[in-house]
Protein backbone atom coordinates (compact mmCIF):
# COMPACT_ATOMS: atom_id res chain seq x y z
CA UNK A 1 0.00 0.00 0.00
CA UNK A 2 1.56 3.24 -1.03
CA UNK A 3 0.79 6.58 0.50
CA UNK A 4 -0.24 9.20 -1.98
CA UNK A 5 1.26 12.60 -1.56
CA UNK A 6 -1.43 15.22 -1.64
CA UNK A 7 -0.50 18.55 -3.18
CA UNK A 8 -0.80 21.46 -0.80
CA UNK A 9 -3.78 23.09 -2.48
CA UNK A 10 -5.79 19.92 -2.37
CA UNK A 11 -5.10 19.09 1.26
CA UNK A 12 -7.98 19.86 3.56
CA UNK A 13 -7.90 20.47 7.24
CA UNK A 14 -8.49 17.22 9.07
CA UNK A 15 -12.00 17.42 10.48
CA UNK A 16 -13.05 15.25 13.37
CA UNK A 17 -15.45 12.53 12.36
CA UNK A 18 -19.10 12.71 13.22
CA UNK A 19 -18.59 9.99 15.80
CA UNK A 20 -15.93 12.04 17.48
CA UNK A 21 -18.14 15.10 17.49
CA UNK A 22 -21.12 13.37 19.00
CA UNK A 23 -18.85 11.77 21.54
CA UNK A 24 -17.54 15.14 22.56
CA UNK A 25 -21.05 16.46 22.80
CA UNK A 26 -22.08 13.56 25.00
CA UNK A 27 -19.17 14.22 27.31
CA UNK A 28 -20.04 17.87 27.60
CA UNK A 29 -23.63 16.92 28.34
CA UNK A 30 -22.48 14.48 30.97
CA UNK A 31 -20.16 17.01 32.49
CA UNK A 32 -22.79 19.66 32.88
CA UNK A 33 -25.50 17.32 34.06
CA UNK A 34 -23.22 16.20 36.84
CA UNK A 35 -21.41 19.35 37.73
CA UNK A 36 -24.38 21.58 37.06
CA UNK A 37 -26.50 20.66 40.07
CA UNK A 38 -23.48 20.77 42.30
CA UNK A 39 -22.42 24.11 41.05
CA UNK A 40 -25.97 25.29 41.68
CA UNK A 41 -25.82 23.93 45.18
CA UNK A 42 -22.57 25.67 45.87
CA UNK A 43 -23.94 28.88 44.50
CA UNK A 44 -27.11 28.71 46.51
CA UNK A 45 -25.38 27.81 49.70
CA UNK A 46 -22.02 29.48 49.59
CA UNK A 47 -22.78 32.66 47.73
CA UNK A 48 -25.40 33.92 50.15
CA UNK A 49 -23.17 32.96 53.02
CA UNK A 50 -20.28 34.93 51.68
CA UNK A 51 -22.55 37.80 50.84
CA UNK A 52 -23.96 37.88 54.35
CA UNK A 53 -20.45 37.73 55.67
CA UNK A 54 -19.49 40.76 53.67
CA UNK A 55 -22.65 42.58 54.57
CA UNK A 56 -22.20 42.13 58.25
CA UNK A 57 -18.61 43.13 58.17
CA UNK A 58 -19.60 46.40 56.61
CA UNK A 59 -22.64 47.08 58.71
CA UNK A 60 -22.72 47.35 62.45
CA UNK A 61 -25.43 45.10 63.80
CA UNK A 62 -26.32 44.09 67.29
CA UNK A 63 -28.91 41.71 68.61
CA UNK A 64 -31.01 44.51 69.79
CA UNK A 65 -31.82 45.62 66.30
CA UNK A 66 -34.89 44.18 64.70
CA UNK A 67 -33.94 42.78 61.36
CA UNK A 68 -30.61 42.45 59.67
CA UNK A 69 -31.31 45.25 57.33
CA UNK A 70 -31.53 47.88 60.05
CA UNK A 71 -27.83 47.69 60.52
CA UNK A 72 -25.91 50.87 60.03
CA UNK A 73 -23.29 51.11 57.32
CA UNK A 74 -19.91 51.69 58.82
CA UNK A 75 -17.63 51.14 55.89
CA UNK A 76 -14.27 49.72 56.80
CA UNK A 77 -14.47 50.72 60.47
CA UNK A 78 -14.98 47.19 61.61
CA UNK A 79 -12.01 45.99 59.65
CA UNK A 80 -9.95 48.71 61.21
CA UNK A 81 -11.17 47.72 64.61
CA UNK A 82 -10.17 44.13 64.05
CA UNK A 83 -6.78 44.96 62.66
CA UNK A 84 -5.96 47.19 65.62
CA UNK A 85 -7.31 44.79 68.17
CA UNK A 86 -4.33 43.43 70.10
CA UNK A 87 -6.31 40.43 71.16
CA UNK A 88 -6.83 39.58 67.53
CA UNK A 89 -3.15 39.94 66.88
CA UNK A 90 -2.39 37.57 69.71
CA UNK A 91 -4.91 35.11 68.42
CA UNK A 92 -3.17 35.14 65.06
CA UNK A 93 0.18 34.60 66.70
CA UNK A 94 -1.16 31.76 68.80
CA UNK A 95 -2.80 30.10 65.83
CA UNK A 96 0.36 30.28 63.78
CA UNK A 97 2.49 29.05 66.64
CA UNK A 98 0.10 26.25 67.37
CA UNK A 99 -0.18 25.22 63.75
CA UNK A 100 3.55 25.38 63.08
CA UNK A 101 4.56 23.61 66.24
CA UNK A 102 2.05 20.83 66.03
CA UNK A 103 2.67 20.33 62.31
CA UNK A 104 6.39 19.96 62.82
CA UNK A 105 5.82 17.71 65.78
CA UNK A 106 3.36 15.53 63.88
CA UNK A 107 5.68 15.39 60.92
CA UNK A 108 8.82 14.43 62.80
CA UNK A 109 7.03 11.81 64.84
CA UNK A 110 5.17 10.43 61.86
CA UNK A 111 8.26 10.33 59.70
CA UNK A 112 10.35 8.66 62.36
CA UNK A 113 7.71 6.00 62.92
CA UNK A 114 7.24 5.47 59.21
CA UNK A 115 10.97 5.11 58.67
CA UNK A 116 11.14 2.45 61.34
CA UNK A 117 8.15 0.64 59.95
CA UNK A 118 8.35 0.66 56.20
CA UNK A 119 10.41 -2.50 55.89
CA UNK A 120 8.48 -5.62 56.81
CA UNK A 121 9.21 -7.17 60.19
CA UNK A 122 7.53 -9.32 62.78
CA UNK A 123 4.74 -7.58 64.61
CA UNK A 124 4.46 -4.82 62.05
CA UNK A 125 0.72 -5.18 61.71
CA UNK A 126 0.26 -4.98 65.46
CA UNK A 127 2.22 -1.77 65.75
CA UNK A 128 0.43 -0.29 62.79
CA UNK A 129 -2.92 -0.84 64.42
CA UNK A 130 -1.83 0.72 67.69
CA UNK A 131 -0.32 3.69 65.91
CA UNK A 132 -3.42 4.63 63.98
CA UNK A 133 -5.72 4.45 66.99
CA UNK A 134 -5.09 8.00 68.22
CA UNK A 135 -6.27 9.38 64.92
CA UNK A 136 -9.48 7.42 65.17
CA UNK A 137 -10.45 9.01 68.42
CA UNK A 138 -12.89 11.84 67.96
CA UNK A 139 -11.14 15.16 68.68
CA UNK A 140 -13.70 16.13 71.30
CA UNK A 141 -13.08 12.83 73.00
CA UNK A 142 -9.39 13.60 72.95
CA UNK A 143 -10.18 16.89 74.59
CA UNK A 144 -12.12 15.37 77.43
CA UNK A 145 -9.85 12.43 77.92
CA UNK A 146 -7.01 14.89 78.11
CA UNK A 147 -8.81 16.68 80.86
CA UNK A 148 -9.20 13.44 82.74
CA UNK A 149 -5.55 12.70 82.35
CA UNK A 150 -3.82 15.98 82.63
CA UNK A 151 -5.19 17.55 85.74
CA UNK A 152 -2.44 18.26 88.12
CA UNK A 153 -2.85 15.26 90.36
CA UNK A 154 -3.60 13.07 87.44
CA UNK A 155 -2.25 9.88 85.94
CA UNK A 156 0.12 11.50 83.48
CA UNK A 157 2.02 13.40 86.11
CA UNK A 158 1.93 10.40 88.33
CA UNK A 159 3.43 8.14 85.72
CA UNK A 160 6.15 10.55 84.77
CA UNK A 161 6.99 11.08 88.41
CA UNK A 162 7.36 7.39 88.90
CA UNK A 163 9.55 7.00 85.85
CA UNK A 164 11.96 9.84 86.39
CA UNK A 165 11.95 9.71 90.15
CA UNK A 166 11.46 13.40 90.74
CA UNK A 167 8.22 15.13 91.56
CA UNK A 168 6.76 16.23 88.28
CA UNK A 169 3.46 17.98 88.64
CA UNK A 170 3.06 20.71 86.09
CA UNK A 171 -0.39 22.15 85.87
CA UNK A 172 -0.87 21.35 82.24
CA UNK A 173 -4.25 22.86 81.80
CA UNK A 174 -4.33 25.57 84.40
CA UNK A 175 -0.94 27.14 83.95
CA UNK A 176 -1.23 29.77 81.24
CA UNK A 177 2.38 29.35 80.23
CA UNK A 178 2.17 25.70 79.43
CA UNK A 179 -1.44 25.41 78.38
CA UNK A 180 -0.77 26.10 74.71
CA UNK A 181 2.20 23.72 74.51
CA UNK A 182 0.04 21.16 76.27
CA UNK A 183 -2.65 21.48 73.65
CA UNK A 184 0.02 21.26 70.97
CA UNK A 185 1.19 17.99 72.44
CA UNK A 186 -2.38 16.75 72.39
CA UNK A 187 -2.68 17.75 68.79
CA UNK A 188 0.53 15.91 67.97
CA UNK A 189 -0.71 12.82 69.76
CA UNK A 190 -4.00 13.00 67.92
CA UNK A 191 -2.66 13.57 64.43
CA UNK A 192 0.84 12.08 64.23
CA UNK A 193 -0.82 8.96 62.74
CA UNK A 194 -1.96 11.10 59.84
CA UNK A 195 1.60 12.08 58.94
CA UNK A 196 2.68 8.56 59.75
CA UNK A 197 0.31 7.01 57.25
CA UNK A 198 1.21 9.45 54.51
CA UNK A 199 4.94 9.09 55.03
CA UNK A 200 4.65 5.33 55.21
CA UNK A 201 2.83 5.31 51.91
CA UNK A 202 5.49 7.54 50.42
CA UNK A 203 8.38 5.44 51.69
CA UNK A 204 6.77 2.24 50.49
CA UNK A 205 6.21 3.70 47.06
CA UNK A 206 9.89 4.36 46.48
CA UNK A 207 11.07 1.70 44.03
CA UNK A 208 13.32 -0.82 45.65
CA UNK A 209 15.87 -1.20 42.90
CA UNK A 210 17.38 2.29 42.83
CA UNK A 211 17.88 1.96 46.59
CA UNK A 212 19.68 -1.36 46.12
CA UNK A 213 21.71 0.08 43.28
CA UNK A 214 22.81 2.87 45.60
CA UNK A 215 23.68 0.32 48.28
CA UNK A 216 25.92 -1.64 46.01
CA UNK A 217 27.52 1.53 44.71
CA UNK A 218 28.77 2.18 48.19
CA UNK A 219 26.17 4.44 49.76
CA UNK A 220 25.73 4.28 53.51
CA UNK A 221 22.27 4.32 55.06
CA UNK A 222 22.62 8.04 55.59
CA UNK A 223 23.60 8.67 51.97
CA UNK A 224 20.74 6.59 50.74
CA UNK A 225 18.35 8.56 52.88
CA UNK A 226 19.56 11.95 51.71
CA UNK A 227 20.38 11.17 48.09
CA UNK A 228 17.73 8.71 47.04
CA UNK A 229 14.81 8.53 49.43
CA UNK A 230 14.36 12.12 50.53
CA UNK A 231 14.25 13.66 47.04
CA UNK A 232 11.67 11.13 46.00
CA UNK A 233 9.66 11.85 49.12
CA UNK A 234 9.39 15.56 48.54
CA UNK A 235 5.80 15.54 47.26
CA UNK A 236 4.62 13.46 50.19
CA UNK A 237 6.45 15.58 52.71
CA UNK A 238 4.88 18.73 51.38
CA UNK A 239 1.50 17.10 51.42
CA UNK A 240 1.87 16.00 55.02
CA UNK A 241 3.02 19.45 56.10
CA UNK A 242 0.50 21.46 54.14
CA UNK A 243 -2.59 19.46 55.01
CA UNK A 244 -1.72 19.27 58.66
CA UNK A 245 -0.92 22.96 58.85
CA UNK A 246 -4.23 23.95 57.32
CA UNK A 247 -6.17 21.67 59.59
CA UNK A 248 -4.25 22.86 62.64
CA UNK A 249 -5.14 26.44 61.84
CA UNK A 250 -8.77 25.41 62.00
CA UNK A 251 -8.49 23.34 65.18
CA UNK A 252 -11.40 23.95 67.50
CA UNK A 253 -12.46 21.17 69.87
CA UNK A 254 -9.23 20.94 71.82
CA UNK A 255 -8.96 24.63 72.45
CA UNK A 256 -12.60 25.37 72.94
CA UNK A 257 -14.26 22.32 74.41
CA UNK A 258 -11.36 21.62 76.70
CA UNK A 259 -10.24 25.04 77.78
CA UNK A 260 -12.55 27.62 76.29
CA UNK A 261 -9.46 29.45 75.19
CA UNK A 262 -8.16 29.56 78.71
CA UNK A 263 -6.74 29.73 81.17
CA UNK A 264 -7.36 33.38 80.54
CA UNK A 265 -6.54 33.73 76.89
CA UNK A 266 -3.62 31.34 76.85
CA UNK A 267 -5.11 29.04 74.26
CA UNK A 268 -7.21 31.56 72.44
CA UNK A 269 -6.49 30.70 68.86
CA UNK A 270 -8.27 32.36 65.95
CA UNK A 271 -11.19 29.95 65.77
CA UNK A 272 -11.77 30.37 69.51
CA UNK A 273 -11.59 34.12 69.39
CA UNK A 274 -13.99 34.30 66.47
CA UNK A 275 -16.33 31.97 68.26
CA UNK A 276 -16.22 34.03 71.41
CA UNK A 277 -16.74 37.28 69.59
CA UNK A 278 -19.73 36.02 67.69
CA UNK A 279 -21.51 33.79 70.14
CA UNK A 280 -20.53 34.99 73.53
CA UNK A 281 -19.92 38.66 73.13
CA UNK A 282 -22.52 38.77 70.39
CA UNK A 283 -20.48 41.17 68.35
CA UNK A 284 -21.73 39.65 65.15
CA UNK A 285 -20.36 42.31 62.90
CA UNK A 286 -16.96 42.34 64.44
CA UNK A 287 -16.94 38.58 64.18
CA UNK A 288 -17.89 38.80 60.55
CA UNK A 289 -15.10 41.21 59.82
CA UNK A 290 -12.66 38.97 61.65
CA UNK A 291 -13.88 35.95 59.75
CA UNK A 292 -13.40 37.76 56.51
CA UNK A 293 -9.85 38.69 57.29
CA UNK A 294 -9.02 35.21 58.43
CA UNK A 295 -10.68 33.77 55.36
CA UNK A 296 -8.59 35.98 53.10
CA UNK A 297 -5.48 34.96 54.98
CA UNK A 298 -6.35 31.31 54.60
CA UNK A 299 -7.20 31.71 50.92
CA UNK A 300 -3.76 33.15 50.31
CA UNK A 301 -2.14 30.26 52.16
CA UNK A 302 -4.33 27.80 50.33
CA UNK A 303 -3.54 29.19 46.89
CA UNK A 304 0.11 28.95 47.71
CA UNK A 305 -0.44 25.40 48.89
CA UNK A 306 -2.22 24.47 45.67
CA UNK A 307 0.60 25.78 43.56
CA UNK A 308 3.14 23.92 45.66
CA UNK A 309 1.29 20.62 45.57
CA UNK A 310 0.57 20.79 41.86
CA UNK A 311 4.20 21.43 41.14
CA UNK A 312 5.21 18.46 43.25
CA UNK A 313 2.65 16.23 41.63
CA UNK A 314 3.87 17.21 38.22
CA UNK A 315 7.48 16.45 39.07
CA UNK A 316 6.42 13.13 40.50
CA UNK A 317 4.52 12.28 37.34
CA UNK A 318 7.41 13.16 35.07
CA UNK A 319 9.92 11.28 37.12
CA UNK A 320 8.02 8.06 37.01
CA UNK A 321 6.33 8.18 33.64
CA UNK A 322 8.58 7.69 30.66
CA UNK A 323 8.41 10.42 28.09
CA UNK A 324 8.06 7.79 25.40
CA UNK A 325 5.03 6.25 27.04
CA UNK A 326 3.41 9.63 27.36
CA UNK A 327 3.90 10.34 23.72
CA UNK A 328 2.27 7.09 22.84
CA UNK A 329 -0.69 8.01 24.95
CA UNK A 330 -1.14 11.23 23.11
CA UNK A 331 -1.04 9.58 19.69
Amino acid sequence: MSIAVVPAEKAQACLPSTRELSRRRAITRFRWSILGPLLALLIFVLMPVLFLQLYFSLHQWTVYLGTWWDAEYVGLDLFKEVMTDPRFGWAVVRSLAFATGSTIGCFLTGFALAYLMYKPFRGQAFYYIIFILPMLTVPVVVAYTAEMMLYQSGPLNDLITRIIGIEFKPAWLTNPHIALPAVMLLEIWNWAPFSFIIMLAGLSAIPKEPVEAAEILGASKWHIFWEVQLPLLRPVIFLALVLRFLEAMAEFPKTWALLQGGPGTATETLPVYIFLTTWQYFQISKGAAMSYIVMLLMVVIVLFAIRLLRREKRSLDTMYAKAVARQQELM
Binding site: V45, V142, A201, G202, L243, I306
Partner: protein
Amino acid sequence: MRKSQRQRLSAVVRYFVLSMWALVAFFPIYWMISTSFKPDTQWFAWPPVYFPDPPTLSNYLNVWFGAEEYAATQYAISSQKPLISLANSTIIASVSTLLAVLFGSVIAYGVSRYRILSEARMFQLLMLRMIPPIVVVAPLSLYYSALGLLDTMTGLILIYFITSLPYAVWMMKSFIDEVPREIEQAAEILGASRWRTVFEVVLPLVRSGLVATFLFILILTWSEYLLALIITKTQVTTLPIELSKYQGSTEGRVYGRQAALAVGITVPLMIAGLIIRKHLARGFSFGMVRR
Protein backbone atom coordinates in the same frame (compact mmCIF):
# COMPACT_ATOMS: atom_id res chain seq x y z
CA MET B 1 30.61 -5.21 64.00
CA ARG B 2 29.37 -8.28 62.25
CA LYS B 3 26.44 -7.82 59.96
CA SER B 4 24.27 -10.18 61.95
CA GLN B 5 25.09 -8.41 65.20
CA ARG B 6 24.34 -5.11 63.61
CA GLN B 7 21.04 -6.39 62.36
CA ARG B 8 20.08 -7.61 65.78
CA LEU B 9 21.04 -4.35 67.41
CA SER B 10 18.99 -2.28 65.02
CA ALA B 11 16.07 -4.62 65.52
CA VAL B 12 16.27 -4.13 69.27
CA VAL B 13 16.42 -0.37 68.91
CA ARG B 14 13.49 -0.46 66.55
CA TYR B 15 11.33 -2.52 68.85
CA PHE B 16 12.21 -0.30 71.77
CA VAL B 17 11.34 2.96 70.07
CA LEU B 18 8.16 1.58 68.55
CA SER B 19 7.04 0.12 71.83
CA MET B 20 7.62 3.41 73.60
CA TRP B 21 5.42 5.21 71.18
CA ALA B 22 2.89 2.41 71.27
CA LEU B 23 2.56 3.00 75.01
CA VAL B 24 2.21 6.71 74.51
CA ALA B 25 -0.34 6.16 71.78
CA PHE B 26 -2.37 3.69 73.71
CA PHE B 27 -2.29 5.06 77.24
CA PRO B 28 -4.90 7.80 76.85
CA ILE B 29 -7.23 5.35 75.19
CA TYR B 30 -6.63 2.91 77.97
CA TRP B 31 -7.31 5.61 80.51
CA MET B 32 -10.55 6.52 78.87
CA ILE B 33 -11.72 2.94 78.85
CA SER B 34 -10.64 2.18 82.36
CA THR B 35 -12.18 5.37 83.74
CA SER B 36 -15.47 4.41 82.18
CA PHE B 37 -15.50 1.36 84.37
CA LYS B 38 -14.54 3.12 87.57
CA PRO B 39 -16.92 3.83 90.41
CA ASP B 40 -17.18 7.53 91.15
CA THR B 41 -14.82 7.49 94.09
CA GLN B 42 -11.98 6.51 91.80
CA TRP B 43 -12.50 9.07 89.07
CA PHE B 44 -9.93 11.48 90.41
CA ALA B 45 -8.45 9.68 93.32
CA TRP B 46 -4.93 10.34 94.35
CA PRO B 47 -2.79 8.44 93.72
CA PRO B 48 -4.52 7.71 90.45
CA VAL B 49 -6.21 4.39 90.09
CA TYR B 50 -4.98 2.60 87.02
CA PHE B 51 -7.26 -0.32 87.11
CA PRO B 52 -10.81 0.04 88.32
CA ASP B 53 -11.34 -1.85 91.51
CA PRO B 54 -13.92 -3.16 91.30
CA PRO B 55 -14.95 -2.43 87.70
CA THR B 56 -18.51 -1.34 87.39
CA LEU B 57 -21.03 -0.87 84.66
CA SER B 58 -22.83 1.91 86.47
CA ASN B 59 -21.43 4.63 84.25
CA TYR B 60 -22.64 2.91 81.14
CA LEU B 61 -26.05 2.16 82.56
CA ASN B 62 -26.37 5.69 83.77
CA VAL B 63 -25.27 7.41 80.65
CA TRP B 64 -26.78 5.27 78.00
CA PHE B 65 -29.91 4.08 79.62
CA GLY B 66 -30.88 5.86 82.82
CA ALA B 67 -31.91 9.25 81.60
CA GLU B 68 -33.69 10.53 84.67
CA GLU B 69 -30.98 9.68 87.11
CA TYR B 70 -28.46 11.52 85.06
CA ALA B 71 -30.52 14.45 83.91
CA ALA B 72 -31.22 15.46 87.43
CA THR B 73 -28.00 16.86 88.81
CA GLN B 74 -24.90 17.17 86.74
CA TYR B 75 -25.46 19.59 83.96
CA ALA B 76 -27.69 22.40 83.08
CA ILE B 77 -28.22 22.70 79.38
CA SER B 78 -30.84 20.25 78.28
CA SER B 79 -31.84 16.69 78.83
CA GLN B 80 -31.17 14.91 75.62
CA LYS B 81 -30.99 11.22 76.00
CA PRO B 82 -27.71 10.00 74.59
CA LEU B 83 -29.54 7.33 72.70
CA ILE B 84 -31.35 10.00 70.77
CA SER B 85 -28.07 11.72 70.06
CA LEU B 86 -26.74 8.41 68.92
CA ALA B 87 -29.66 8.02 66.57
CA ASN B 88 -29.20 11.55 65.31
CA SER B 89 -25.52 11.12 64.76
CA THR B 90 -26.05 7.87 62.94
CA ILE B 91 -28.69 9.23 60.63
CA ILE B 92 -26.95 12.48 59.89
CA ALA B 93 -23.58 10.89 59.31
CA SER B 94 -24.90 8.00 57.25
CA VAL B 95 -27.14 10.03 55.01
CA SER B 96 -24.65 12.78 54.31
CA THR B 97 -21.86 10.26 53.74
CA LEU B 98 -24.02 8.19 51.43
CA LEU B 99 -24.93 11.22 49.37
CA ALA B 100 -21.33 12.38 49.28
CA VAL B 101 -20.08 8.96 48.14
CA LEU B 102 -22.82 8.67 45.54
CA PHE B 103 -22.26 12.03 43.94
CA GLY B 104 -18.57 11.83 44.53
CA SER B 105 -18.30 8.54 42.69
CA VAL B 106 -20.16 9.81 39.66
CA ILE B 107 -17.98 12.89 39.52
CA ALA B 108 -14.90 10.79 40.13
CA TYR B 109 -15.81 8.55 37.22
CA GLY B 110 -16.18 11.59 35.02
CA VAL B 111 -12.87 12.99 36.15
CA SER B 112 -11.06 9.71 35.78
CA ARG B 113 -12.33 8.80 32.33
CA TYR B 114 -13.29 12.11 30.75
CA ARG B 115 -11.40 14.73 32.69
CA ILE B 116 -14.52 16.76 33.45
CA LEU B 117 -12.46 18.54 36.06
CA SER B 118 -8.92 19.62 35.38
CA GLU B 119 -6.13 18.87 37.81
CA ALA B 120 -6.17 22.49 38.89
CA ARG B 121 -9.85 22.28 39.71
CA MET B 122 -9.36 19.07 41.62
CA PHE B 123 -6.82 20.73 43.86
CA GLN B 124 -9.02 23.77 44.24
CA LEU B 125 -11.83 21.47 45.27
CA LEU B 126 -9.60 19.92 47.89
CA MET B 127 -8.44 23.25 49.19
CA LEU B 128 -12.00 24.45 49.51
CA ARG B 129 -12.34 21.84 52.16
CA MET B 130 -9.22 23.14 53.87
CA ILE B 131 -10.56 26.59 54.65
CA PRO B 132 -11.37 26.62 58.33
CA PRO B 133 -15.13 26.23 58.72
CA ILE B 134 -15.05 28.78 61.51
CA VAL B 135 -14.90 31.60 59.04
CA VAL B 136 -18.24 30.76 57.52
CA VAL B 137 -20.22 29.34 60.39
CA ALA B 138 -21.52 32.68 61.58
CA PRO B 139 -23.19 33.79 58.37
CA LEU B 140 -24.08 30.17 57.67
CA SER B 141 -26.11 29.97 60.83
CA LEU B 142 -27.85 33.19 60.01
CA TYR B 143 -28.58 31.99 56.51
CA TYR B 144 -29.84 28.71 57.86
CA SER B 145 -32.11 30.43 60.34
CA ALA B 146 -33.56 32.44 57.52
CA LEU B 147 -34.15 29.25 55.56
CA GLY B 148 -35.45 27.43 58.57
CA LEU B 149 -32.65 24.95 58.43
CA LEU B 150 -31.13 25.85 61.73
CA ASP B 151 -31.35 23.16 64.33
CA THR B 152 -32.53 20.62 61.78
CA MET B 153 -31.02 17.36 60.65
CA THR B 154 -31.45 18.38 57.04
CA GLY B 155 -29.35 21.44 57.61
CA LEU B 156 -26.48 19.46 59.06
CA ILE B 157 -26.76 16.80 56.42
CA LEU B 158 -26.55 19.42 53.74
CA ILE B 159 -23.46 21.08 55.07
CA TYR B 160 -21.75 17.77 55.83
CA PHE B 161 -22.52 16.65 52.31
CA ILE B 162 -20.84 19.69 50.87
CA THR B 163 -17.76 19.41 53.03
CA SER B 164 -17.38 15.67 52.43
CA LEU B 165 -17.68 15.84 48.68
CA PRO B 166 -14.04 16.77 47.96
CA TYR B 167 -12.76 13.75 49.86
CA ALA B 168 -15.27 11.47 48.18
CA VAL B 169 -14.23 12.64 44.74
CA TRP B 170 -10.52 12.32 45.41
CA MET B 171 -10.72 8.89 46.97
CA MET B 172 -13.07 7.36 44.45
CA LYS B 173 -11.06 8.80 41.60
CA SER B 174 -7.97 6.98 42.78
CA PHE B 175 -9.95 3.73 42.97
CA ILE B 176 -11.54 4.16 39.58
CA ASP B 177 -8.18 5.05 38.06
CA GLU B 178 -7.01 1.59 38.92
CA VAL B 179 -9.64 -0.12 36.79
CA PRO B 180 -7.93 -0.50 33.42
CA ARG B 181 -9.69 1.19 30.58
CA GLU B 182 -9.25 -1.94 28.48
CA ILE B 183 -11.80 -3.72 30.60
CA GLU B 184 -14.44 -1.16 29.74
CA GLN B 185 -13.43 -1.29 26.11
CA ALA B 186 -13.73 -5.05 26.14
CA ALA B 187 -17.24 -4.76 27.54
CA GLU B 188 -18.10 -2.16 24.94
CA ILE B 189 -16.96 -4.35 22.09
CA LEU B 190 -19.00 -7.18 23.51
CA GLY B 191 -22.06 -4.98 23.21
CA ALA B 192 -22.55 -3.42 26.62
CA SER B 193 -23.97 0.06 26.88
CA ARG B 194 -22.18 2.67 28.95
CA TRP B 195 -24.53 2.24 31.91
CA ARG B 196 -24.19 -1.51 31.93
CA THR B 197 -20.46 -1.24 31.72
CA VAL B 198 -20.39 1.02 34.72
CA PHE B 199 -22.78 -1.03 36.79
CA GLU B 200 -21.73 -4.52 35.86
CA VAL B 201 -18.05 -4.07 35.25
CA VAL B 202 -16.59 -0.98 36.93
CA LEU B 203 -18.65 -0.82 40.10
CA PRO B 204 -17.96 -4.37 41.31
CA LEU B 205 -14.27 -3.75 40.81
CA VAL B 206 -14.29 -0.68 43.03
CA ARG B 207 -16.56 -2.18 45.63
CA SER B 208 -13.91 -2.25 48.31
CA GLY B 209 -13.05 1.32 47.39
CA LEU B 210 -16.64 2.36 47.93
CA VAL B 211 -16.67 0.81 51.36
CA ALA B 212 -13.37 2.39 52.26
CA THR B 213 -14.46 5.83 51.10
CA PHE B 214 -17.76 5.51 52.88
CA LEU B 215 -16.24 4.55 56.19
CA PHE B 216 -13.50 7.14 55.87
CA ILE B 217 -15.94 9.97 55.39
CA LEU B 218 -18.24 8.53 57.99
CA ILE B 219 -15.48 8.79 60.53
CA LEU B 220 -14.87 12.41 59.67
CA THR B 221 -18.53 13.33 59.75
CA TRP B 222 -19.33 11.46 62.92
CA SER B 223 -16.60 13.22 64.86
CA GLU B 224 -17.25 16.70 63.54
CA TYR B 225 -17.69 19.24 66.28
CA LEU B 226 -17.78 22.86 65.23
CA LEU B 227 -20.51 22.82 62.62
CA ALA B 228 -22.66 20.64 64.82
CA LEU B 229 -22.15 23.01 67.71
CA ILE B 230 -23.32 26.00 65.74
CA ILE B 231 -26.10 24.49 63.77
CA THR B 232 -27.77 22.43 66.45
CA LYS B 233 -29.54 23.97 69.37
CA THR B 234 -32.18 22.02 71.15
CA GLN B 235 -34.00 19.91 68.65
CA VAL B 236 -31.04 18.08 67.28
CA THR B 237 -27.91 16.91 68.99
CA THR B 238 -25.05 14.87 67.75
CA LEU B 239 -22.87 12.76 69.98
CA PRO B 240 -19.85 15.06 70.09
CA ILE B 241 -22.10 17.84 71.28
CA GLU B 242 -23.71 15.53 73.77
CA LEU B 243 -20.32 14.88 75.24
CA SER B 244 -19.59 18.55 75.60
CA LYS B 245 -22.79 19.09 77.51
CA TYR B 246 -21.15 17.49 80.45
CA GLN B 247 -18.87 20.43 80.62
CA GLY B 248 -21.58 22.24 82.42
CA SER B 249 -21.63 24.29 85.56
CA THR B 250 -20.88 21.69 88.11
CA GLU B 251 -18.87 21.22 91.25
CA GLY B 252 -16.96 18.23 90.08
CA ARG B 253 -16.28 16.56 86.79
CA VAL B 254 -18.29 13.47 86.00
CA TYR B 255 -15.31 11.73 84.51
CA GLY B 256 -16.70 8.27 84.68
CA ARG B 257 -19.86 9.20 82.89
CA GLN B 258 -17.99 11.22 80.33
CA ALA B 259 -15.69 8.32 79.75
CA ALA B 260 -18.60 5.96 79.26
CA LEU B 261 -20.08 8.28 76.69
CA ALA B 262 -16.72 8.82 75.05
CA VAL B 263 -16.13 5.11 74.72
CA GLY B 264 -19.48 4.72 73.08
CA ILE B 265 -18.64 7.41 70.58
CA THR B 266 -15.14 6.27 69.86
CA VAL B 267 -15.33 2.51 69.71
CA PRO B 268 -17.51 2.30 66.58
CA LEU B 269 -15.19 4.69 64.83
CA MET B 270 -12.13 2.74 65.84
CA ILE B 271 -13.69 -0.41 64.50
CA ALA B 272 -14.57 1.32 61.26
CA GLY B 273 -11.09 2.74 61.01
CA LEU B 274 -9.45 -0.60 61.62
CA ILE B 275 -11.60 -2.18 58.96
CA ILE B 276 -10.35 0.22 56.35
CA ARG B 277 -6.84 0.63 57.68
CA LYS B 278 -5.29 -0.61 54.46
CA HIS B 279 -7.05 2.13 52.54
CA LEU B 280 -6.29 5.01 54.84
CA ALA B 281 -3.14 5.88 52.93
CA ARG B 282 -5.15 6.29 49.78
CA GLY B 283 -7.52 8.70 51.43
CA PHE B 284 -4.65 10.88 52.49
CA SER B 285 -2.32 10.71 49.51
CA PHE B 286 -4.00 13.07 47.06
CA GLY B 287 -1.87 12.10 44.13
CA MET B 288 1.45 12.53 45.86
CA VAL B 289 2.16 8.84 46.12
CA ARG B 290 2.95 6.80 43.06
CA ARG B 291 0.85 3.68 42.82
